[in-house]
Symmetry: C2
């Protein structure tokens, strides 16, 4: 149905290229030596734990996906059902690959640090991350291309996008519950009750804790950006499709394809020489990608005769993303004023430490809110709602390099854990520590970036929801703030991310209690465990974390989806528009607040640990540890899940718009 060469074919070509380079790098990492028997053994436990998590999660998700597919086929049509399943498969595949490479790269990084130092170890860690980055964007864009090639209809991509989003919500929020359950339980029993060090192999939760890093940060974050990426491209395509200008429909594919090329070039520039700084090198890769992307999209716009304002809107989106990322960096970095002042406040006790960090977290929302507000207004003034859509694409086009830097983090963290557990010596631990530290900075930036991108994407989804409604009823329905249905919708919609955050944080506590009981049981019942002669049952803890995540999460996801549908069917299209807006408002705000406040407490603790205000073991340190623990579920569980939550309900609203228009009690 498509004629010979068309610009949008850049998308499938570059996505296949991305997948091939990803596979090549996978083989590169895999070919490295995994080290001593002890290292292989520990890595094997982490690998096994990660696979158990994925296997269990996917088994239950399989049921969820089948139920959803059947419901979609019944209420909408079979095509949507099939495309939905396709979306979940793409997202699931990206998750599996990311996880597999992470559990291979970690031990090989540790071994390389032992054999050849930082210069040998860094490329393995980073290329491991790059596999994840390239595979995620490659699979995502390839999937979109396939659907578009088969149907020629951007709205068909919506089904795939929802498939990806629901899976992501499970991976991201479930992974978040998993990782914090293990983290809190391992620390509370291990460090506090029994006074054994972190990452001590006697602790039955230690493997679950290391698995958690992969599950939450690696697979979770990858899935998160996969989801935003697909949603942004899809929303822009829908907005383009309804504009009447042919090339607007495919321009998002073209720009996304160029973004992949730029990411590949950026990834290639990341290397560390003698005495080099891994953190700087990672940032350089991101900046190179941005510049290449801006240059190439300008060229493409000229070449294909696009209106230049589209390119400008794209650049505005990318710029807003960078501003939000840099804000996160400033507010969470260990050597900046907010972290230092929060650390200083810890001298007066935990309460003041928490209040200070919370206050800076609130303040960090200001530039982010300003960035998203001004960015979207500029994009709109350039090219209407389509401008907002393509701005989101611009922000997410460089996802390849962003995910690479993000997935690098848990690989370094795991490498450090393996180096410690295998007793490779202080020198090796220090090298892995340096790799790990560089990951913490990129992680904070990535989070800000991901939240910003998701915010802009959600606005684009809201616009595409309006377009879909318009195409159904033949006229533009206004979402007027003074319309009581819209206003009511905003208030109810605001409550969804709020309730979700509350329940998921409570879920972590509940699940951590279960694991604490299990750890205590093992130390009580397994002979010689404390002395190091008995073998702990790592699997039991992995299983509690996994099942607990599912148990806490499933009702929440059902609640969010059904509230959306109930509100739509009771109060109609306009109320639902207000509802989506309200969810964007509170979701965006809470996501930024939680991510930044959590990162800040973490680094204020690390600042004290580096020797200030009394250093490790001082009262200030104890206070900062409390702040850090409060921040853990903020930054790793609730905060990062909210994006996806908002994306899911936005898309559910779009998908069910025809039914809501037909059957809602209050009509439009």
């Amino acid at each position: 149905m498509m004629t010979s060469f068309e610009p949008w074919l850049i998308a499938p070509v570059s996505s296949v290229l991305s997948i091939l380079i990803g596979l090549f790098l996978y083989n590169y990492v895999n070919s490295k030596d995994a080290g001593t028997e002890r290292m292989k053994q520990i890595a094997g436990w982490i690998q096994e734990g990660s696979r158990t998590f994925l296997r269990t999660e996917y088994r239950y998700l399989g049921i969820f996906v089948v139920v959803m597919a059947v419901l979609l086929s019944l209420f909408l049509n079979v095509k949507v059902g099939i495309i939905y399943v396709f979306g979940t498969l793409c997202s699931g595949l990206a998750g599996i690959i990311g996880m597999e490479i992470a559990v291979k790269a970690n031990v090989r990084t540790a071994n390389a640090a032992k054999e050849g130092g930082l210069i040998t170890a860094f490329p393995i860690a980073f290329r491991g991350g790059a596999v994840m980055g390239l595979m995620v964007v490659g699979i995502a864009l390839f999937g979109i291309s396939v659907i578009y090639w088969l149907t020629g209809d951007p709205e068909a991509v919506l089904g795939m996008s929802i498939g990806a989003s629901t899976l992501t919500l499970f991976m991201k929020a479930g992974g978040g519950i998993y990782t914090k359950t293990a983290d809190i339980a391992a620390d509370l029993v291990g460090k506090v009750e029994l006074s054994i060090p972190e990452d001590d192999p006697r602790n039955p939760a230690v493997i679950a804790d290391n698995v958690g890093d992969n599950v939450g940060d690696c697979a979770g974050s990858g899935a998160d950006l996969f989801d935003s990426y697909v949603a942004a491209v899809m929303a822009a395509m829908i907005l383009g499709g309804s504009s009447g200008i042919a090339y607007l429909k495919t321009a998002p594919l073209v720009f996304a394809g160029i973004g992949i090329v730029a990411s590949i070039i950026g990834i290639a520039t990341v290397r560390v020489g003698e005495g080099g700084d891994p953190g700087k090198s990672l940032n350089l890769g991101t900046y190179v990608t941005c510049i290449v992307f801006i240059a190439l999209t300008y060229g493409a716009s000229v070449l294909f005769g696009y209106d230049i304002r589209i390119w400008q809107a794209t650049a505005a989106g990318l710029l807003a993303g960078i501003v939000i990322g840099m804000t996160s960096d400033y507010y969470t970095s260990i050597n900046r004023s907010p972290a230092i002042k929060t650390a200083e406040a810890a001298q007066t006790g935990a309460a003041i430490n928490i209040l200070t960090g919370f206050s800076y977290g609130l303040m960090s929302c200001f530039p982010a809110l300003l960035g998203i507000g001004i960015g979207s207004a500029v994009a709109y003034s350039l090219y209407g709602v389509y401008g907002v859509g393509i701005a989101a694409v611009g922000m997410l086009a460089i996802a390849g390099v962003i995910i690479a830097g993000d997935a690098y983090g848990p690989i370094g963290d795991n490498a450090k854990g393996i180096a410690e557990m295998s007793e490779l010596g202080d020198e090796v631990v220090d090298i892995t520590d340096e790799i790990d530290a560089a990951g913490n900075t990129t992680k904070a930036i990535t989070k800000g970036f991901a939240i910003g991108a998701a915010g802009l994407t959600a606005l684009a989804l809201l616009a595409s929801y309006q377009e879909i409604v318009k195409s159904l009823v033949g006229t533009t329905i206004r979402f007027d703030l003074m319309d009581p249905l819209v206003m009511m919708g905003v208030f109810v919609g605001m409550a969804i991310p709020v309730i979700f955050s509350a329940m998921i944080i409570l879920g972590v506590s509940k699940n951590a209690f279960r694991m604490i009981e299990e750890i205590r049981r093992q130390f009580r019942e397994i002979p010689g465990l404390m002395e190091g002669t008995g073998k702990p049952d790592y699997g039991a803890c992995v299983s509690i974390a996994t099942m607990g995540a599912l148990r806490e999460l499933l009702p929440l996801i059902v609640f969010s989806i059904s509230t959306t549908l109930i509100l739509g069917f009771v109060a109609g299209i306009r109320a639902l528009a207000g509802y989506l807006s309200g969810a964007i408002f509170s979701g965006f705000f809470l996501a930024i607040l939680m991510a930044n406040a959590g990162g800040l407490w973490d680094n204020s603790k690390k600042y004290i640990e580096s020797g200030y205000f009394g250093g490790k073991g001082s009262d200030a340190h104890k206070a900062a540890v409390i702040g850090d623990t409060v921040g853990d579920p903020f930054k790793d569980t609730a905060g990062p899940s909210l994006n996806t939550l908002v994306t899911v309900i936005s898309q559910i609203a779009s998908l069910f718009a025809p039914l809501i228009i037909a059957y809602a009690l209050i009509g439009l």
Copy 2:
């Protein structure tokens, strides 16, 4: 300019009645014996501290008011400037009277507890609160009546309302900084460093701490409801004035007048017999007021031939207020599941206690958001934007009895403090404790109620802003969510309460540090202070709290007002509408979250103190104390100030609408 009898004259008549009964009760309280010399001495210190606070605050506020009045006269017109000053004087007068009665009633309550027990003491405490309640609504409604009588123009009342609001913001936020500065500093040096008990007269901050209760809770809360009350009546009058139906303009005055009558009847029913329960009695008074109000307004609607849907909207507003108040009650009460579970979580340490309380605080937003959303939608569906306005009036009409119950709280709290410091014995302390405990429950309900009322008032103000713009440009300007200026405005507006909260919490910490230094200095330099032979310099601490409050607050208030004007003049009327909406969204959410989470941590600590989970001094108790300290500035400083902040900027926007329309860069 008014003809013989008109229904709205109910307003001035009932407000004068309210003031007269208030004065009568003032004399009743004042005629009681203030007890022993020691009691009089301590009460004198508190009285002196409170007066110092008010005197200093008003002196600086005087300058602020004069500057504002000159600016308003220059940029708008002299009439606005004069009415503005009148508004500040009314609000200031209510503050002075409330404070004066509170510092008289506290010591007399303590003495009555000594002389005749609960039955003698309770009426003094409650009637002290009733003075505040009756004077606040009396002065407010009388002031509105005077302005309306002189001008016949509801928009003229806007100037008075802004005057009241700016003063309230200083009283409420300044009082909040004051009280928590003193509280935290007194506790940290007294209890933690020196291990002397609470309310110990050797502690130089003890008087400032007791003053703080009056300043923050009594004068502050009274001013808060004064402000919402005037704003709600004014907004409804403006909406009525532009409707073209004559009686709609004065119906808010009629209903407010009836609300005063209902409050007087409700207050009269509050009494405690032998073995009676003060808490139940207080709640009974509120319920009686509601029923009388509903019945009388129904009668008035029939008598004056009002559309019955107006009455229905009024009742819907009152109902929404009760729902929000009851939600606060459930989520903060000491014997309900959230507080107990939060207390239980304290056994696992401060972090889990804080996370649990925060999560329940988030959850408590759901019914409140639902209540305000559905309440406003129902009111709108009954009678359009006017329905929303009159619903806010319905909610606030019973402010008299609400303030009475609220002001009762700090009187009881102070009575307890005086009983302890004067060593009146355990029995007397127990009686004052019972009086105090009843106050804590009413306080939580009042806060929820005040926030709900302010939320609805803010929506009415937004509607009246639209009406004012319409009257200026001759056509209704739509506030469409898909309009990029509106959307940008929402994001920027959301940031204002967020930044305000952050800065004010940081301000408390900074100010507390200053006072801690001063307390330490006094213990170091005043001979015999620790032994009880030296006399501490209470005035120095009072002065630090007072000046610090002003120093932290002034830049914040200037920031909020100028951001509003800058956004308006740069991005125009629609952006400003989005901005006001955004401020309502985040302000309402944060206010509920902070008030309820703070109250919850407080009561979870009290639950442990009552003997559960190890009781006082246990590890769980220490953890809960940390949670309580985090909650202190949440519930007593930031949370309760946000209402007023939103009211102030909403009114500034309305007031400057003509200039913004004329001179804004982006026009409408």
